[in-house]
C-alpha cells in the first residue's frame, strides 16, 4: 500500500470512530501527539501521588488512612497502565521517565499546588478527581485503542476516588466548627486551580483542534470546563461550602452556570515552572529515582545472572 492508501485507511477508521491499534499504520504526528498526551497523563498520576501522599502519615483515622493509601496506590497503578499504553507507541518507560525528570514532558499543573490540611485530601478527591473525570470520560472513546481501554479502567477507579473525597468532606462538614472551616479553606484554594485543569480557553489552545480531528480529544477545553462547573455547583450546595467566585450564577437562558475568568497568567506561570511546588515535586521524583538506581541495577544484574546460569 502507498502512504496515501494507509492515510486513507487511517482517516476512515477515525471517521467511523473506530480504534487505531498499535500495529496499525498511523501518521507520525498522531503518534507524537499521543505519546505526549499519554505520557503527560502517566506522569500526572505519578507526581500526583505526592500531594496526597503528604498526608498518609497524618491521616486522622485508620479508616481514612487505609482509603488514602489505597487511593495513592491506585495512582501508581494508573501510572503503570498508562506507561504501558504509551510503550505500545514505541517508547520505553525509562525514556519517558527521563523526559519527565529532564523537564521535557509535563504533568498536570494542579499537582504543583501544596496540600495544607487533611481537608485537601477530600477536596482533591471531589474537585481534582472530578475535573479529571470530566476530562477523561470522553477519552474512554479516544481513537487509540490501548489508551481508551486504560482510560475505561482508570475512570472507574477515579469515580470511586471522587465519591470517597466528597464523602470525606461531607463527614467533616458534619463534624466540628474547625473541621468545617478546614473544608471551606481548602475549597477556596483548590477551586480555581481545578478550573484550570481543563487547560487554557479554546481560543488559546492551539493543539486542540487537531486532537479533535484525530479523535484523540472529543470535546473542547471550555465545553469540559462548563460541564464541570455545572456538575459541581449543586454538589457544593449540598455540601454547604461557598465556591470562591462572586460571578458564579445560574444562567437560565444558557441553561448553564456563568462563572468568573480564571487567572490565566497564574496557569502560565505554573506551567512555566514557577508554581508553588514545581521544583519540590520534580526534586522528590528525581531523588526517588536516583536513590533507587542501585536497586534497579541489582535487579538487572541478578536477572542477567539467572539467564546465564
Amino acid at each position: 500500500m502507498t502512504t496515501a492508501d494507509l492515510e486513507a485507511h487511517f482517516d476512515a477508521v477515525i471517521a467511523r470512530r473506530d480504534r487505531i491499534e498499535p500495529r496499525d499504520w498511523m501518521p507520525e504526528a498522531y503518534r507524537r501527539t499521543l505519546i505526549r498526551q499519554i505520557a503527560q497523563h502517566a506522569h500526572s498520576e505519578i507526581i500526583g501521588m505526592q500531594p496526597e501522599g503528604n498526608w498518609i502519615g497524618r491521616a486522622p483515622s485508620l479508616r481514612r488512612k487505609a482509603i488514602l493509601l489505597a487511593k495513592v496506590q491506585d495512582e501508581a497503578g494508573h501510572g503503570l497502565y498508562l506507561y504501558s499504553a504509551c510503550e505500545t507507541l514505541g517508547i520505553s518507560r525509562g525514556e519517558l521517565v527521563e523526559l519527565l525528570l529532564g523537564g521535557k514532558q509535563k504533568y498536570s499543573s494542579i499537582f504543583n499546588y501544596p496540600t495544607l490540611s487533611y481537608a485537601d485530601v477530600g477536596t482533591i478527591g471531589w474537585l481534582v478527581d472530578g475535573a479529571a473525570i470530566c476530562n477523561q470520560v470522553p477519552l474512554c472513546r479516544t481513537s487509540y485503542g490501548p489508551y481508551g481501554r486504560a482510560m475505561i479502567r482508570i475512570c472507574k477507579e477515579e469515580s470511586f476516588h471522587q465519591r470517597q473525597g466528597y464523602e470525606l468532606l461531607m463527614t467533616m462538614m458534619r463534624g466540628t466548627e474547625e473541621q468545617r472551616a478546614l473544608v471551606q479553606e481548602s475549597v477556596d484554594r483548590f477551586w480555581w486551580p481545578s478550573l484550570m485543569m481543563f487547560g487554557p480557553p479554546d481560543e488559546h489552545s492551539p493543539n486542540s483542534e487537531r486532537s479533535m480531528a484525530w479523535g484523540i480529544k472529543r470535546h473542547s477545553n471550555d465545553e469540559l470546563r462548563q460541564k464541570f462547573v455545572d456538575l459541581t455547583v449543586p454538589q457544593a450546595e449540598v455540601l454547604g461550602v461557598r465556591l470562591p467566585d462572586p460571578e458564579l450564577s445560574w444562567n437560565a437562558e444558557r441553561e448553564h452556570y456563568d462563572f468568573g475568568r480564571p487567572d490565566w497568567d497564574e496557569l502560565s506561570a505554573v506551567i512555566r515552572g514557577d508554581g508553588p511546588c514545581n521544583a519540590q515535586r520534580l526534586a522528590h521524583r528525581r531523588k526517588a529515582h536516583d536513590d533507587g538506581a542501585w536497586v534497579r541495577e541489582a535487579a538487572t544484574a541478578f536477572a542477567e545472572r539467572g539467564r546465564d546460569d
Binding site: 502519615g57 493509601l69 496506590q73 501510572g79 536513590d291 541478578f302
Partner: protein, 242 residues
C-alpha cells in the same frame, strides 16, 4: 482478658507501626511496581492492625484511652491516635526509622517470617476473632515473606553495591531479632536460614542487647517522633468526625 487484650494489642501495634513506616515509602520506591507492592503490604498490615485493635478494645475496654464526653472517635482510633509512646506495645524493630531499600527488605523479611509462624498457630486460637484474623493474615504474610525473600536474594546476589547494602542492613537490624523472636515465640529460623542460604549470606550471630522490650512499653527514640506525625491531626480534633 487483660492478658488477651495485651496480646492483641502487641500484635496490633506491630502491624500499625510497621504499616506507618511502609507508607512513608509511598512515592519513593525504586520502581513503580515496588511502590505498588509496598503500599499493598502497608495496607495489609493496617487491616490487621484495625481488626486487632478492635479486638483488644472489645476484650478489655480499659485499654482504650478516654476521650472527652461525646467524642465520636471509635475505639481503634482512640488506641492508635491517643496513646503516648510508652503505651504502645510494638517490638522495637518495627519503629526504627526507614533506611534504604535493603533496610526495608531485611526488616520485612525478619518480621513476616516471625509473624507468619505465629499466625499459623493462631489459626486454631480459642478466640474465634483472632483465628479469623490469622486466617486472613497468613495469606498476606506469606506474600510479604515471599516478596521480601525474593528481593533479599536479588540484592544479595545482584551487584557488589547491593550486596554491601543488604549485609549492612542485616547487621544493623539483627540486634532486634532476639526481641522479635521472643515476642512471637519464634521456634526456629528454618525459613530465614533458607533465604540466607539462597542469598549466600551467613546468618549473623545472635546478640543479647540491653534496652528493654517494646512489649513492656520500652521503645527507641524513634517512636515518639513517629507518633508526633501520625497523631497530630487526630489529636488536634478530639471531637472530630472523619
Amino acid at each position: 482478658p487483660l492478658e488477651h487484650a495485651r496480646f492483641c494489642l502487641g500484635l496490633a501495634d506491630d502491624a500499625l507501626i510497621l504499616s506507618q513506616r511502609l507508607a512513608e515509602w509511598c512515592s519513593r520506591a525504586p520502581d513503580l511496581e515496588d511502590d505498588v507492592a509496598l503500599a499493598n503490604l502497608a495496607l495489609d498490615l493496617l487491616g490487621q492492625a484495625r481488626l486487632l485493635l478492635g479486638r483488644a478494645a472489645l476484650v478489655d475496654p480499659a485499654v482504650v484511652p478516654v476521650l472527652p464526653a461525646g467524642s465520636p472517635v471509635p475505639a481503634e482510633d482512640a488506641l492508635a491516635f491517643f496513646r503516648d509512646a510508652a503505651a504502645f506495645r510494638n517490638v522495637q524493630l518495627v519503629e526504627l526509622p526507614n533506611g534504604d531499600f535493603a533496610h526495608v527488605i531485611v526488616r520485612l523479611l525478619m518480621f513476616s517470617v516471625a509473624r507468619l509462624e505465629l499466625f499459623q498457630q493462631l489459626l486454631s486460637s480459642a478466640d474465634p476473632v483472632l483465628a479469623a484474623v490469622a486466617a486472613r493474615g497468613v495469606k498476606e504474610l506469606a506474600y510479604q515473606r515471599d516478596w521480601a525473600g525474593r528481593w533479599f536474594v536479588t540484592l544479595a546476589r545482584g551487584t557488589s553495591e547491593s550486596r554491601r547494602r543488604v549485609l549492612a542492613a542485616l547487621a544493623g537490624l539483627w540486634v532486634h531479632q532476639a526481641e522479635l523472636a521472643e515476642a512471637y515465640g519464634l521456634s526456629g529460623g528454618a525459613v530465614l536460614e533458607r533465604v540466607f542460604l539462597a542469598g549466600g549470606v551467613a546468618q549473623p550471630d545472635s546478640v543479647v542487647r540491653v534496652g528493654g522490650r517494646g512489649r513492656d512499653g520500652m521503645h527507641t527514640e524513634a517512636l515518639s517522633l513517629l507518633l508526633a506525625e501520625m497523631q497530630v491531626v487526630a489529636r488536634a480534633h478530639p471531637m472530630g468526625r472523619w
